[in-house]
């Protein structure tokens, strides 16, 4: 996106560059912001997300920018590993002199960059990582998140299922942090809310390597009334095909995280599992004016429809705008103060605010059932569930967040 210096050319130019630096992240005309994400490794989710924030900042700049300045985003691939990501973050902060950074997709990368931000005292807004740890046990005062975390989304699903009278549950989740914490959250919340709940089997296939036939047969053998799934991507498609053919889902309730997001739902086409209760994003049916405007602008810009990543990126851009306007400068302390309790009154997703206790936005998710219509999956009977009631209890946040200790 911008020019780059290697180690050796740097040797020549850096002494000069170092002398000319003034306020980080600001020049006379622009505010520079750093962004990094796993564009190469996880294109399915990150590309729509990138289009989302690009659209947002284009609109903001066209409308005169923020604080009278244009916003310039320096975007980088984070290499898909924590080692590369921390280096890239450093490059953005040191070389590009950005005011703050946002981005990341994988939980471990999000956490690593958050820790980097904490160490370097730089504001970091995590866009996509779902891990609870980011705002809880490993949270810090420099790190914020918009997207509802695993705990919140699981809580929304459990609420949908609590009155169905299903007690024998199976859990299937990919074997990594997101899947494990989804499973743990489910167990915890189900025990609180579903009377007589019993987990009869748990399956944790390695990410991308589900042995779908064997997994489906094992779950079937345990004869649950209902299934909680945190699968996505290729694993989800394999599981759905095998399970459908073998009749696993017949007469059973299935709760599935994220499956209603176009990123994961659309590849299933007409084989989307009908009746599953999911979190997702029914973009074609949301008719708030803000959302319709967003979809229209997105289609005009990219000739494509938005995914969950798109609305997240777009909303993030406007959140940043609001934060900068409230802060009045790109001074880190001012920006942190602005983030505290920041209210976004209008967004395509509806109003939300950032809870200053754990730096987590109250943005919610859409919860509904899957159906197939016109050869593709869609969400029906859906509603937007505000995130606030599903956030971690304040007392628990105070107990686990390191920066809130004594």
């Amino acid at each position: 996106m911008t020019k780059r210096r290697g180690l050796l050319p740097a040797v020549a130019g850096l002494a000069i560059a170092g002398m000319t630096a003034s306020v980080p992240g600001e020049t006379a005309e622009t505010i520079r912001i750093g962004e990094l994400n796993s564009y190469n490794r996880f294109p399915a989710f990150t590309e729509p997300y990138k289009k989302g924030w690009q659209l947002g900042f284009e609109e903001i700049n066209a409308a005169g920018g923020v604080l009278g300045k244009q916003i310039e985003v320096i975007s980088r691939d984070d290499g898909g590993t924590t080692g590369d990501a921390v280096r890239v973050a450093e490059e953005l902060v040191v070389r590009e002199k950005v005011a703050f950074i946002f981005g990341t997709f994988l939980s471990n990368i999000g956490l690593a960059v958050a820790d980097f931000a904490n160490q370097r005292k730089v504001l970091f807004i995590a866009s996509e990582p779902l891990t609870d740890a980011l705002t809880m046990a490993k949270g810090n005062r420099y790190t914020y998140r918009l997207r509802p975390n695993t705990y919140m989304q699981t809580g929304m699903l459990v609420d949908e299922a609590k009155d169905l009278g299903k007690t024998r549950w199976a859990i299937v989740a990919p074997n990594y942090e997101y899947g494990q914490s989804a499973a743990a959250n489910f167990k915890r919340l189900a025990a609180e809310k579903i009377p007589g709940v019993e987990i009869v089997i748990e399956q944790f296939p390695a990410l991308g390597k589900i042995d779908a036939g064997a997994t489906v047969a094992a779950i079937e053998q345990a004869n649950p009334d209902a299934i909680f799934s945190a699968l996505f991507g290729g694993d989800l498609a394999k599981f759905v095909r095998e399970g459908t053919t073998r009749g696993l889902f017949e007469g059973r309730t299935v709760l599935s995280l994220l499956t209603g997001e176009p990123e994961w739902l659309d590849p299933l086409k007409d084989e989307a599992p009908v009746g599953w209760i999911v979190t997702g994003y029914p973009w074609e049916q949301i008719d708030t004016p803000e959302h319709e405007a967003f979809v229209a602008a997105y289609r005009a810009a990219y000739d494509d429809y938005p995914r969950l990543g798109s609305i997240l990126g777009y909303t993030l851009a406007y959140t940043i705008k609001a934060m900068l306007e409230k802060a009045g400068s790109t001074d880190t302390e001012a920006m942190l103060a602005a983030m505290e309790g920041l209210r976004i009154e209008s967004s395509p997703a509806g109003p939300f605010y950032i809870r200053d206790l754990d730096n987590q936005a109250t943005m919610g998710a859409w919860v509904g059932k899957l159906a197939v219509e016109g050869g593709r999956g869609k969400m029906v009977d859906w509603r937007y569930v505000d995130g606030e009631p599903y956030m971690f209890p304040a007392e628990e946040v105070r107990r686990v967040r390191p920066d809130l200790q004594n």
């Binding site: 996106m1 911008t2 780059r4 290697g6 180690l7 740097a10 040797v11 850096l14 560059a17 170092g18 190469n40 996880f42 294109p43 691939d77 290499g79 590993t81 924590t82 080692g83 921390v86 280096r87 450093e90 490059e91 070389r95 471990n108 956490l111 690593a112 820790d115 980097f116 891990t131 490993k138 074997n175 990594y176 942090e177 494990q180 089997i201 748990e202 944790f204 296939p205 390695a206 991308g208 390597k209 589900i210 042995d211 036939g213 064997a214 997994t215 047969a217 094992a218 053998q221 290729g234 498609a237 095909r241 095998e242 053919t245 073998r246 009749g247 659309d266 590849p267 299933l268 084989e271």
Partner: protein
């Protein structure tokens, strides 16, 4: 448990085995004949799925039915077969004479290129293909449903095995393939056109990979992670079966398929590591896999490896210049440059430690990440759980790694060649799985954060000097060992184990010691690494880390002392330069690596040495009068 379920689970295992076998058969054939460790096999598999997706879409639009579907599957396999031919003609053929395993680097570059090409062509989203017409439903087996397609696939594996058996026993090509697997040079001596044979074998290998990928279409969407997900398992199956043995691959696939089907009932998280556990167990008991045989020693009697020579004045002045540059760097470099330099020094030590056994001891490790990562984890855990200071943690890193190298090395050095390499990989994967799974201790895949240097070293410049001092000391010591009797003994064992043994040097013991020393050095690098990043997660133990080290060594020149350092610098700087330039940085990296492979088949330093004798005095006496 009721018998119906057990039987169905057994069938599930058979289906998995069938797919695993088909995905591995081509790999084992290609290795058997060409001795190439073909990373691109996974790319062929993925291409098979994508091409079949496109063809099936077109064909079934025209005429929906079984003919269109199966036509698409086989045409896709054939196209992938031709891509295999292309790979052989354009790339591999030029580097058959390069040092052992150099071809591996070329195929790795191809993997990077294909990943991005696939993404450019088909996009990043998963593409769910059609189900097989006529096999969409299920049959009822003991009151349970079993998909027809899976049932058909249970027969497809043995069918492929049978077809290969006919090919190998009833055609001239097949007989040559078998002969070449047993003794490649003998076939050459018989006047067989070896180039043509290799081209044919690459076609067959790629065709089988493409077929296996295409047959996945009714089971899973074509997706950009197929290549990486299958290649390691295919290698594991190949090695467990015995490299070059198709029947062995079949048995190995059965073993893994069934163990997995029943294993998940007891250990729901077992798929992460099962295959590697089986491989480690099999190799410890049978060093050449189930049906493998020791490789016929190359008659050219182990092409002589590199030798050492005293430094030349030119070399010495270059080193002094470089040292001065490194010492003065903080005066004119910014914090980021220092960060990059820190990384480069650490990877330099890491790559140097790998080549200490690989180039100079003939021990190829595909799992060197284990020791680097264990050093890093060792230090991180001591800081995280016991609140040790940085200094003690960094000093403990090499010890942790050294103990692991001592234990794993004892088992590894009993093996040789690719089997040894794969056993090191198995151990690395087991360590990876532990780090991944033992959440209470290691933080699981989220890893540990907040592992920053002590306050006196928290300034980037100070940490840079610390890294510089420690890595230079590490590299310096290893370098000295190479010129000391210890290094000579390693080299003696590499050159001729039988001769070494006959002058009182125990080859296995020497290899074990060298392996341990190398692990200690890698662990030291890992200890420095974790404090430079501030965090650690299992990624550092994963295959890409090992592959990076291999790439650095091979790129720089395995038969040189300084090659790994040059390779580490090159790879780190290149990545840093290319990554921000384009979304498709993997393809650019792959292209550059491929270009260098073709231009410098001895590695960068190797080629410099040939051009500028003063630079690299190490002679590589290749031509040996027979």
């Amino acid at each position: 448990m009721d018998p119906g379920f057990l039987f169905v689970q057994f069938l599930n295992g058979l289906a998995t085995a069938s797919f695993l076998f088909m995905a591995s058969a081509g790999l084992t054939i290609v290795f058997g004949v060409t001795r190439i460790v073909n990373f691109a096999h996974g790319s062929f598999y993925m291409l098979g799925a994508y091409i079949a997706y496109t063809l099936a879409g077109v064909f079934m639009e025209v005429a929906y039915g079984a003919v269109s579907f199966w036509g698409a599957i086989f045409l896709a396999a054939a196209i992938v077969g031709l891509l295999g031919v292309l790979l052989e003609l354009v790339v591999l053929r030029r580097i058959y004479d390069a040092p052992e395993l150099f071809q591996l680097l070329a195929t790795f570059a191809v993997v990077l290129i294909v990943q991005d090409l696939v993404r450019m062509t088909w996009g990043g989203e998963d593409l769910l293909g059609p189900r097989a017409p006529g096999l969409k439903s299920f049959v009822v087996v003991l009151d349970r449903r079993f998909p027809e397609y899976e049932l058909a696939m249970i027969f497809a594996g043995p069918l492929v095995l049978g077809a290969l058996w006919l090919l190998f026993h009833r055609t001239r090509f097949g007989v040559l393939v078998r002969a070449a697997t047993l003794d490649r040079e003998m076939v050459g001596a018989l006047g067989v056109n070896q180039a043509l044979l290799f081209t044919g074998v690459l076609f067959l290998g790629a065709f089988l990979a493409g077929l296996a990928g295409a047959l996945q279409l009714p089971r899973e969407p074509a997706n950009p992670y197929m290549d990486v997900n299958i290649i390691v398992e295919a290698f594991v199956v190949t090695v467990i079966g015995g490299m070059g043995s198709v029947t062995g691959a079949f048995l190995a696939a059965l073993l893994i398929g069934e163990l997995q089907a029943f294993g998940i009932l007891i250990f729901p998280k077992i798929t992460l590591v099962l295959a590697f556990l089986v491989m480690a167990a099999v190799l410890i008991v049978r060093p050449y896999g189930l049906l493998g045989r020791p490789q016929a020693e190359s008659h050219a009697a182990a092409r002589a490896g590199a030798g050492l020579a005293a430094g030349t004045p030119l070399q010495r002045s270059l080193w002094m210049g470089l040292l001065a540059f490194l010492l003065l760097l903080p005066l004119f470099a910014d914090e980021y440059s220092l960060k990059l330099a820190i990384e480069l020094l650490i990877f330099g030590l890491f790559a140097f430690s790998l080549n200490f056994i690989m180039g100079w001891g003939g021990i190829v490790s595909f799992g060197h990440a284990a020791y680097f990562g264990l050093g890093a984890y060792g230090a991180a855990l001591l800081v995280h759980h016991l609140a040790w200071p940085m200094e003690a943690a960094i000093l403990s890193a090499p010890l942790v790694a050294g103990v692991a190298a001592l234990v794993f090395g004892a088992l590894c050095v009993r093996l040789s060649g690719v089997y040894l390499a794969m056993l090191t990989l198995a151990f690395a994967q087991i360590v990876y799985a532990i780090a991944f799974q033992w959440v209470e201790l290691t933080g699981g895949d989220n890893g540990l954060i907040g592992i920053w240097p002590s306050s006196w070293a928290s300034s980037r410049t100070v940490y840079y000097y610390l890294t510089l001092a420690v890595t230079l000391a590490g590299i310096g010591l290893l370098w000295r060992f190479l010129y000391a009797p210890f290094g000579y003994s390693s080299r003696a064992v590499r050159d001729s184990a039988i001769r070494a043994d006959a002058i009182g040097i125990d080859p296995r013991y020497q290899r074990w010691l060298a392996f341990t020393v190398s692990g200690i050095a890698a662990g030291l690098g890992g200890g420095l690494y974790v404090f430079s990043k501030g965090n650690i997660d299992p990624e550092v133990l994963a295959i890409p880390t090992s592959v990076d080290a291999l790439t650095m060594v091979l790129l720089g020149g395995v038969e040189t002392v300084t090659g790994p350092l040059a390779g580490a610098a090159l790879l780190t700087l290149l990545k840093d330069f290319v990554m921000p330039l384009t979304l498709y940085w993997k393809m650019v990296m792959g292209g550059l690596i491929l270009a260098m492979v073709l231009a410098f088949p001895k590695g960068l330093v190797g080629i410099l040495g040939d051009r500028l004798p003063g630079l690299q005095a190490a002679p590589t006496g290749r031509e040996r009068p027979a």
